[in-house]
Symmetry: C2
Subunit: 200 residues, 2 copies
């Protein structure tokens, strides 16, 4: 059926959410209008405030409500280790693993010349300023294990070499809890190639 103009506009707008298609948008719109108008108003306000109030941290390009994010502003972080990731979601994932106490740098993308994404778009200038400050002793490259992620890692390794900073890459191999049978061959060949001395 043809929807009324306002409803049609709402459906189109909801489709900009990831994973939301036509049918899901309809279910969301009808739910909000029929059963949860207060929730809708709360969402309008929360989204509007978030879009206005959340910017990027000056130091690491993570989402921040002030000029620096809580991680960069934190007093208990080790500022001599810098972990480079592609997205804010990666920072959240690493933080959730509770295995890292250094600071971050978020590229907000990865090198992709075909899409017009070069070093400027990734804030490399800011990263270089931090590397040249002498505060950073180790740069951990945690970009994804894709072709573009690896290219980005190589580029960053070259950059860090100019500043005499130790460069490491996170390990790639068989996931913990994974059975060999179900691991893809690319991961498996990498796991064998990067084998380490057994630590008993």
């Amino acid at each position: 059926m043809s929807f009324t103009p306002l409803l049609q506009r709402l459906l189109t707008a909801l489709c900009c959410l990831p994973g939301v298609g036509r049918k899901t948008a309809q279910r969301m719109a009808l739910h909000l209008l029929e059963k949860d108008r207060d929730g809708g108003q709360t969402l309008v306000q929360a989204l509007s405030d978030a879009l206005d109030g959340i910017g990027l941290c000056e130091q690491c390009r993570m989402f921040a409500e002030d000029s620096t994010c809580p991680i960069c502003a934190g007093s208990r972080r080790n500022r001599s280790i810098l972990c480079v990731v592609e997205t804010p979601a990666d920072v959240i994932a690493v933080e959730d693993s509770a295995s890292y106490s250094g600071v971050y740098f978020v590229l907000l993308g990865r090198l992709s010349p075909l899409d017009g994404i070069g070093p400027e778009e990734l804030g490399i200038e800011t990263l270089e300023r931090r590397l040249s400050s002498g505060e950073i002793k180790e740069l951990i490259l945690a970009t994804s294990a894709t072709v573009e992620g690896e290219a980005t890692a190589s580029f960053l390794a070259g950059l860090a070499g100019n500043h005499n900073v130790k460069v490491t890459r996170i390990a790639h191999g068989v996931p913990v809890g994974g059975e060999l049978e179900y691991v893809d061959s690319g991961t498996l060949s990498r796991a064998i190639g990067s084998r380490t001395l057994f630590d008993s």
Copy 2:
């Protein structure tokens, strides 16, 4: 990790959408903030306008931007047949089937004394006014085939009886394209009980 206050509020607000849990809300929020701030602004505006501008049709309680909905205002609908459904989504489903040219009445719920939903909440007064106007010749009960839906249908049938309106119920049985093997026994027993003369 602990999110900043604005982001936390946005995550909580997104969780009011049906089918959206913690993880999906996070993915949506990061997507909007990182890659589609324009889409976010559009959503804020569209949702806000929809909540303000969409009300209920005076005649059928379907969503409407004016006092009557496009269906009730339409000149080509058969006003002597009234189909009673539970939700606006049901109207959309029937309209999409392109098998009905009458008008509707939306209950916005079903009788459920335990949840405090009685005839007043379902707009029965409005429905009764329409039944007593003499314009309606047939009332089609298209409430769902659940216990509460059936109870609601019985109640409405009694109501229509008082006004000498013919009452029909949509057929329940084996879905078109369905194989008997996979049909649940309740549906199958209903399909056998409601068998009709074979029309060759």
